[in-house]
């Protein structure tokens, strides 16, 4: 019978139970499932069918709930991941396989991925790799690089390297169950249904003046709860992550500096927000001339985007050692080049989201974040409110990669909750997220490198400009880090590297996995290949010959007596380099259109803040009933700090990681373990965890009066220590309990030893570096210009792998992001503000990756461990560009190397 739903409710089977709902005409099924029916395991990442996070089964077939009209499911079967996981043994087995492979990192794509995989396995219980890729192709993942997901679905054995337990063992993520079940609450999953929502009004222009119309009448006519503008900011209408560069308003005043900048926010009930056309908001714009690139920003007549920042230069960085110019002059061989890169979008699958409420006069903000304590500091200033009255409760984080270090939804939520006195929530739309969140800095790099006839680098001169967009964000960090790293992990006596951060009317560029180093590595590692070629040397052996070593000064004059692992990484690639080079030659001799190439590149990265204090504090205690509680404040954004920090702490205390109860980075109850950035959590928070576990163990041993070798067992209400003399029991029930509920406790802090850099960038910027070298094999369709990566071999010196499986996970994910940056990702404001025009790699784009874990222990790292997160994608892009050169004979100097650019270079090269 024809259905007119105008006056009828909807009824269908949700996870086999009959449910009723009352959607409005055209309402998305995802919305009804999440808000009316409580199925928040259905994630929303784009509302456009581009990411697949909301995948459900409709009559057994996977579809995007965000594209399904709710009314279309009348009398049909809808299954969400949570239902399948709980009901279908095959789905549960699949999830366990995922856990065994460590294939859920942030976990936000997991429900959609698993729903798709369940549908596949029902039809094809033993699928081939290409079938898995076809079936899962509709779900994007930004963390894992997909390879472990493919392995998990195909049921191949999981990583078994390392020990069976403790540090060095590949235990599953300690928080895997809540991720693989779909139970973990992310930024948009915390708020109660029906609470007030916030819709931000943003500039459609790159630069414009603006005036509001009659906001009061508009609010009354539309039944809004309130409208927020700059006038509603109780404290200082500015935020910024670097104290000397706090320059970004919560709401623009008078003029907007980039497309997507906020001018106002509507606060209203959800049904009002749903029916509201943002275009109807009473604001008039006066478009102003905007600068879109660094050259025009520094040109004559360009307006100063920030008063006093002359020629729109924000700041610069310098590292100078020896005399680079003289060295280049006397070099036997000289190469030079100009290299450019685009804005890169973080494209985490979880858009920024959160919830806020005022409780007993205190503000609580629940949001996805990489830096809860920094969020609190920012709100303290924006709200003019004592930090003691602000509580930040991090939710699950569906990917961060640097961009969730900066405040996003938090100021809007806080101001709205305080002004209305009611609970409020918001989730950025994908477009809003892409327009307004920070990006990787576009770069324009000029580099000259000289070498002597014997193949030794004699000098490097580097000048790099970085487009920091309309606001500083982490731009100064990029300007500082780049000159320190632009030599690559090599011994260079005569060196000069200068960087410049330039403001434009583009979105703010900030922190993104590597802070500018991936860009500089493209230039340096490309020219290393050019230099080796000119010298007639093997590209890998050339790098090995110049690799940094223990007791050899870095370009900052820092001398490491131990722990320099780059040579080991490079030599680990030798056999693959020989094998793949021979395979390439064989392939190319029998193919004309398709050509293969092999490329190598290396990288290094200093862990922790550059020459700045960077402490982490870890607290833990034992409860009267014998539980060990770890306050783990190092926010896990998918990279695995929950697991790694737990493993290190557990090892120090002498228990298994799975026995530890974790408390997250709630600012009310957990001490500051610093921000999740700069590849610092394993190293810095890991050290704090080790100190904390050691201190707690010492207390227990002393209390029981046993020696350091005793084995501890935690039982209900007691601790048992076993040593050569037998078992010793400590009853906990009678002991006095502190305010945290602990009978014994420890709290320890670690701060990496660094020294300031002088005017020439000489000093000790980092206590440790991590090292990496990648080999990439590509196949280029020379007629089309398409580049298909065939495989990677990645050698990483991590000092000590705390968890080898998680190391592999980081390597895979970093390579996927490096590959995206190299081949397809280019954010263009106003043009690629969604996930179908802005492309990130899909499950079909990442080839097999072989990870070679190198362990050159570091004196400062916990158990010798070094950071890893950012290191991974540094060599990826240049390795790919070098491989393209080997395949085609042409060198790409601009990323992304899109098919159009590759083909154009081939045509130019063959003219």
């Amino acid at each position: 019978m024809s259905k007119d739903f105008t006056h009828h409710t909807l009824s269908f089977r949700l996870n086999q139970a009959i449910v009723v709902a009352s959607p409005t005409p055209g309402q998305r099924l995802s919305d009804v499932l999440r808000e009316e029916l409580g199925a928040r395991d259905v994630k929303v990442g784009c509302d456009a069918g581009d990411c697949g996070a909301c995948t459900i089964l409709l009559d057994g077939q996977p579809v995007c709930a965000c594209l399904t009209p709710a009314h279309q499911v009348q009398d049909r079967d809808v299954d969400t991941w949570s239902g399948l996981y709980r009901r279908d043994p095959a789905a549960k087995a699949l999830a366990d396989s995922l856990k065994g492979h460590g294939a859920a990192q942030c976990g936000i794509c997991t429900p959609g991925m698993m729903v798709s995989a369940t549908a596949l396995l029902r039809e094809r219980p033993d699928p081939a790799e290409s079938e898995v890729q076809d079936a899962l192709s509709g779900v994007l993942c930004r963390c894992t690089g997909y390879r472990k997901i493919i392995d998990a679905v195909m049921g191949v054995p999981a990583v078994t390297t390392g020990k069976s337990h403790g540090v060095g063992s590949s235990i599953p993520h300690v928080d895997a169950d809540e991720k693989i079940s779909g139970d973990l609450s992310y930024g948009d999953d915390v708020a109660p249904a029906g609470c007030l929502e916030i819709l931000v009004i943003r500039s459609p222009y790159h630069r414009a003046g603006f005036k509001f119309g009659d906001l009061k009448s508009f609010a009354a006519a539309q039944d809004l709860t309130t409208i927020l503008t700059a006038a509603d900011v109780p404290g200082r209408n500015l935020f910024g992550v670097i104290p000397q560069f706090v320059d970004q308003p919560v709401f623009a005043e008078g003029e907007v500096r980039f497309r997507g900048e906020a001018v106002a926010a509507i606060v209203a009930r959800p049904e009002i927000i749903a029916g509201l056309d943002p275009e109807s908001f009473p604001v008039s714009w006066r478009k102003l001339p905007a600068v879109k690139d660094m050259q025009s920003a520094q040109g004559e007549g360009a307006a100063e985007i920030h008063e006093g920042r002359v020629q729109n230069v924000m700041c610069g960085g310098l590292v100078a050692r020896g005399d680079a110019e003289a060295a280049l002059k006397r070099a036997d061989v000289l190469v030079e080049g100009r290299f450019r890169s685009a804005f890169v979008e973080h494209a985490y699958i979880e858009p920024e989201a959160g919830f806020a409420q005022v409780l007993d006069g205190r503000l609580e903000v629940h949001a996805c974040t990489q830096a809860p304590m920094m969020d609190r500091e920012a709100l303290e200033a924006i709200l003019g409110m004592d930090a003691a009255r602000i509580r930040i409760v991090p939710t699950g984080v569906g990917g961060g990669f640097g961009s969730k270090l900066d405040p996003t939804v938090q100021p809007f939520l806080a101001i709205a909750a305080l002004k209305t006195g009611q609970a409020v929530r918001m989730r950025y739309s994908r477009t809003e997220s892409m327009q307004s969140s920070t990006k990787r800095h576009p770069s324009d790099i000029r580099l000259r490198i000289g070498a002597n006839r014997n193949g030794k680098i004699s000098g490097i001169s580097f000048f790099g400009e970085f487009d920091t967009g309309a606001y500083a964000s982490w731009g100064p960090t990029v300007a500082n880090r780049v000159p320190v790293h632009a030599s690559g992990p090599y011994s260079v006596k005569d060196y000069r590297a200068e960087s410049k951060g330039v403001h434009t009317n583009n979105p703010p560029a900030g922190a993104f996995r590597g802070f500018g180093v991936p860009q500089s590595a493209i230039a340096q590692e490309s020219l290393f290949d050019a230099l080796a070629e000119k010298l007639g040397m093997d590209a890998l052996e050339f790098r090995i010959a110049n690799a940094l070593e223990n007791n050899v000064p870095t370009v900052c004059g820092q001398v490491f007596e131990q722990g320099v692992g780059i040579r080991a990484c490079l030599t680990a690639l030798r056999s693959a380099w020989k094998r793949e080079s021979a395979a390439m030659a064989a392939f190319n001799s029998s193919n004309t259109t398709l050509k293969r190439g092999v490329g190598v590149a290396a990288g290094w990265y200093g862990c922790g803040n550059t020459s700045l204090p960077n402490p982490s504090t870890i607290k833990a205690g034992i409860t009267p009933d014998g539980r060990v509680v770890l306050h783990q404040g190092a926010v896990d954004i998918g990279q695995g700090s929950n697991t790694v920090v737990s493993q290190i702490f557990a090892e120090a205390l002498g228990v298994l990681a799975k026995q530890i109860e974790r408390v997250g980075a709630d600012t009310d109850i957990t001490p500051d373990a610093g921000k999740t950035s700069a590849s610092r959590q394993t190293y810095v928070s890991g050290n704090a965890a080790k100190l904390c576990g050691t201190a707690l163990r010492a207390q227990v041993l002393e209390r029981i009066n046993v020696g350091p070798d005793a084995t501890l067992y935690f039982e209900e209400g007691a601790i048992i220590a076993e040593d050569a003399s037998g078992m010793h029991r400590l009853n906990l029930s009678g002991m006095s309990v502190d305010a945290d509920g602990f009978v014994m406790r420890a709290e320890e802090t670690y701060d990496p030893p660094t020294e300031p850099l002088d005017a020439n960038g000489q000093g000790a910027p980092y206590a440790q570096f991590g090292y990496a070298a990648h080999l990439a094999v590509v196949e280029v369709d020379t007629e089309m210009g398409t580049v298909k990566p065939i495989r990677f071999v990645a050698a990483h010196d991590v000092g000590q792998a705390i968890n080898p499986m998680l190391v592999e996970g980081q390597v895979h994910g970093g390579i996927a992001q490096g590959l995206g940056m190299a081949l397809m990702e280019e954010y263009i404001p106003g043009r690629t503000e969604n996930l179908h025009d802005y492309l990130i790699p899909t499950i079909g784009d990442i080839p097999p990756i072989e990870t070679l874990i190198i362990e050159e222990p570091d004196l400062h790292g916990p158990h010798g461990a070094k950071g890893l997160g950012e290191h991974v994608l540094i060599p990826t892009a240049p390795a790919l560009l070098n491989a393209i050169k080997a395949a085609t004979g042409v060198r790409l100097t601009q990323v992304p190397a899109t098919p159009a650019r590759v083909r154009a270079a081939i045509l130019k090269g063959t003219q």
Partner: protein
């Protein structure tokens, strides 16, 4: 305000005659286009209409109901001349999109990069349209889509089916899509070729259509005429052959790249179709 899901064409047409409505099937274009804007006032859901999900064959050809999805096409038992259409279906977005998105919706959405267009043009598709106010009509596909996001469909009209006339026995087909990543990708350019070879292995009939290189996908009639008698391995494409195309610069590639790549792509499509 309303959401109507009729099960007869008559009911559907009556709704359209009463005033404009957002027609929705799989929602794969309707929702992305809507973004954060409010919902339409009235929706007409065509997925419950009797016969709309059917694929039928007869002596006159093949008829795809207007709610036939890409997955329906992939699973359907169709002769080899539909291999290009099947290949195009598998390249549409992802499994999720193929399970919901429809062939008819693809042409009504009238994107220059619509994955279905080149193949359907190469198949000489006709669009079957009905209306309560002005009666039925059949419109050739190349006349149905008139410009970017423009079709001849009036507000009271509904696409009922896409019809493919009977095709020569032995004709084979191929589809080539060029994108910057493996899945979920909007084409830089795409080509469909249907080829009928004579008993010496030379082309006796060929249909070539190109998408994403002009506001509306185009058949290359001059090329088709000049390829008669040529072996698939000896195909060359000249500038004149490409004159129906007018590629643009966009984020996926510039015009000169498109012109260059599509030339190679056409050769590949014809060769692949001709070597079955």
């Amino acid at each position: 305000m309303g959401y109507f899901a009729p099960d007869t064409v008559t009911d559907a047409l009556r709704q359209l005659a009463d005033g404009s409505a957002q027609i929705v099937a799989g929602g794969t274009d309707v929702y992305p286009a809507r973004g954060r804007a409010p919902a339409a006032k009235r929706y007409l859901d065509v997925t419950s209409i009797a016969g709309f999900s059917e694929i039928s064959h007869g002596p006159d050809g093949t008829r795809f109901g207007a709610a036939v999805t890409w997955s329906d096409i992939v699973r359907a038992d169709l002769p080899p001349v539909f291999d290009g259409l099947k290949a195009a279906a598998k390249e549409v977005g992802s499994v999720q999109i193929q399970n919901a998105g429809t062939l008819a919706g693809n042409i009504c959405n009238a994107s220059p990069a619509a994955d279905g267009m080149p193949t359907l043009l190469a198949l000489d598709a006709q669009v079957e349209i009905a209306s309560a106010l002005r009666g039925p009509r059949h419109v050739p596909l190349d006349a149905f889509v008139t410009d970017v996001r423009q079709t001849v469909l009036e507000e009271d009209e509904l696409v009922i089916a896409v019809c493919i006339p009977a095709l020569p026995t032995g004709m084979t087909a191929a589809f080539e899509k060029l994108g910057a990543r493996r899945y979920l990708v909007i084409s830089i350019c795409m080509t469909s070729a249907n080829v009928l070879l004579d008993d010496r292995g030379a082309i006796s009939e060929v249909r070539v259509a190109v998408g994403a290189c002009s506001p509306v996908a185009q058949r290359l009639h001059q090329l088709e005429r000049e390829l008669v008698g040529v072996r698939p391995g000896a195909v060359t494409v000249t500038d004149a052959h490409l004159s129906p195309l007018s590629p643009i610069d966009d984020v996926r590639g510039d015009a000169s790249y498109r012109s260059d790549a599509v030339r190679a792509q056409i050769v590949r499509a014809i060769q692949r179709a001709g070597t079955r």
